[in-house]
């Protein structure tokens, strides 16, 4: 347990550092989903950092592609590529594009960035797994604002229609999007009842920063017999950096040197 806590702390520090260095990127939604990715890559998923294309690996699709920093930091921590690469986030010629590119970054299973598309692609991956009687899982991470995209619901309908119980989607429910509170911009609520109505197995995690709660949810999701599962995680945008927490202003802005220093000091504490 201490290992996961230590790992996620390092991932958060890397998120802050790399976005600070780039002076651009999305810290809020990266910090809010750090535990989800840490649990998946360091405990739940069958992946091999030395063989990123391993055939029967579990897949992860970052449908909210703007949270690329959390994915990059996690993959680097796992050893898919050197940690030093994180310094090149968003730089010309870097493998670490503003949004994930599967053809550039070892360990990235799908290029994403345009919201709503990742879950649709994940459904296609899950369908392929079913066709071939594979046992690997397809994980996807959606933003709560992303649920406003109509394609999410086209994909949700298809996933239950084809009984894709190998598909496990997380919703990073941090309640904020660029223009403000999701309930003010365009409420996606009730999220659980919507997915239920679309035929999904729905699990709500009250504390999306608790490894124990997340683990319980994932293990239940893996047992779903004929339905895809959504794990709705209540999270805090900008988690663990006091001035970023619950602040929509930190959705897509890079911290300056002073702010990076303060954030790192808080994360060390």
């Amino acid at each position: 347990m201490a290992f996961l806590e230590e790992t996620v702390r390092g991932i958060r520090k890397d998120i802050v550092k790399m976005i600070g260095k780039a002076s651009s990127g999305h810290p809020g939604g990266s910090l809010s989903s750090a535990e989800i990715l840490t649990l998946l890559y360091f405990e739940q998923m069958n992946v091999d950092e030395n063989n990123p294309q391993k055939e029967d690996r579990d897949r992860f699709v970052l449908s909210k592609g703007h949270a690329a920093p959390v994915l990059y930091a996690t993959l680097a921590a796992k050893g898919f590529f050197p940690n030093a690469e994180l310094e090149n986030l968003r730089q010309l010629g870097s493998i670490l594009q503003g949004h994930p590119d599967m053809n550039k970054v070892p360990g990235v299973d799908m290029s994403t960035g345009s919201l709503g598309q990742g879950i649709s692609v994940a459904a296609g991956m899950a369908l392929a797994g079913k066709m071939d009687n594979k046992s690997h899982k397809i994980y996807a991470l959606l933003g709560d604002g992303e649920l406003q995209e109509g394609l999410v619901w086209e994909a949700a309908m298809a996933a239950s229609h084809y009984q894709l119980n190998n598909l496990i989607a997380f919703v990073d429910n941090n309640n904020l999007q660029i223009d403000g509170a999701i309930c003010e911009v365009m409420s996606p609520f009730p999220i659980d009842a919507k997915f239920e109505a679309f035929g999904w197995n729905v699990i709500t995690v009250e504390d999306g920063h608790s490894f124990d709660e997340l683990r319980t949810a994932v293990e239940a999701a893996k047992k779903s017999e004929d339905k895809p599962t959504v794990i709705i995680c209540k999270t805090v945008k900008g988690k663990c950096v006091s001035f970023m927490e619950n602040n929509a202003g930190w959705h897509g802005k890079g911290p300056n040197a002073e702010e990076v220093k303060q954030a790192l000091a808080e994360l060390e504490a």
Partner: protein, 312 residues
């Protein structure tokens, strides 16, 4: 009268054969499998046919996902919904990651007929051609459709195949060889070159016959491979005949005419006349009067040829 067959029919029938040879081939449809003719494949290989319902965006997204797992998905719907509604999914989830998805869209052009302007895609070539990593193929008949499907299977990446609803004469026989990026010379001539694609190829042949009677020697080139386009063939045509007419069942903006204009501008500027839909939407009607109304007949090609020759 030559045998006639719609390219969509040839597509549906040939998919069955392709599917027999390629166990990874899967077909996705969006509630139009009867019209796109993928229901023929469904009958033969039901376990490899998936209907996503009336959801074209998800059609393309799921196809992308299947491709990441080594499947070779053929995604089909009408051209307007595939190239139009699902455009950005094709861009970001198929072309940007260069996934091996074949996008075979039917009911392209105004020869859709009675369904009218909402269903007649005259923009799809332009939309698909501008995408990096995309190959764009536009068959003239049933045989070329089959050859292009074979070619599409040899490409590791996205391919758009533009198919029509209406029956068109079969121009080629089994000996026809399609090569990606290569045009096929249909008729040689010295005064003007007509570069046509899709169902306009047969009309271009008729136009050349009419022109011959009027003392104009017209060469006809079938440009089935719109991207990559045959730059050498266009250049050669410009140098030897000094005047070009393009003919397509598509907008004159951004389609074959646009592509040929780009090549001529870069390589060999000569007079060009573009026969196509002139920045308009289509409308309901029978196919023949529609083609006449929108200036897509052999007579229109003849007029364009005379005009372009006079500009030399």
């Amino acid at each position: 009268m030559a045998e006639k067959k719609a390219t969509r029919q040839a597509y549906g029938e040939y998919l069955v054969k392709l599917g027999e040879k390629n166990p990874n081939l899967v077909v996705l449809d969006a509630d139009l499998s009867g019209a796109t003719k993928t229901n023929i494949f469904k009958k033969a290989h039901p376990e490899r046919h998936f209907n996503v319902g009336i959801a074209e965006a998800n059609l393309m997204g799921m196809a992308a996902g299947l491709a990441t797992a080594g499947k070779v998905p053929f995604a089909s719907t009408f051209a307007i919904f595939g190239a139009g509604r699902a455009y950005e999914i094709i861009r970001n989830s198929i072309c940007y990651p260069k996934l091996n998805v074949k996008i075979a869209l039917t009911h392209a052009g105004i020869s859709v007929g009675e369904d009218g302007g909402s269903h007649q895609s005259v923009e799809d070539i332009a939309l698909m051609r501008v995408l990096p990593n995309m190959t764009v193929l536009s068959p003239a008949d049933a045989i070329e459709t089959e050859k292009m499907l074979e070619a599409a299977m040899t490409i590791e990446g996205p391919v758009y195949i533009r198919l029509g609803r209406s029956d068109v004469p079969v121009l080629f026989d089994e000996s026809y060889h399609f090569e990606l990026g290569k045009a096929s010379m249909m008729k040689s001539g010295s005064d003007v070159t007509i570069i046509a694609t899709g169902l306009m190829v047969v009309l271009a042949m008729e136009a050349a016959d009419q022109l011959k009677e009027e003392g104009i020697s017209a060469q006809v080139i079938n440009m089935g491979s719109i991207k990559p386009i045959d730059v050498d063939a266009i250049k050669q045509a410009a140098l030897t005949t000094g005047a070009i007419v393009t003919a397509e069942e598509h907008s004159i903006i951004g389609g074959l005419g646009g592509a040929v204009a780009e090549v001529l501008g870069d390589e060999a500027p000569v007079p060009l006349e573009r026969v196509g839909v002139k920045d308009l939407f289509g409308q309901s009607g029978k196919v023949a009067p529609l083609m006449e109304k929108y200036g897509l007949t052999s007579n229109d090609i003849v007029a364009a040829a005379k005009k372009v020759v006079s500009r030399k």
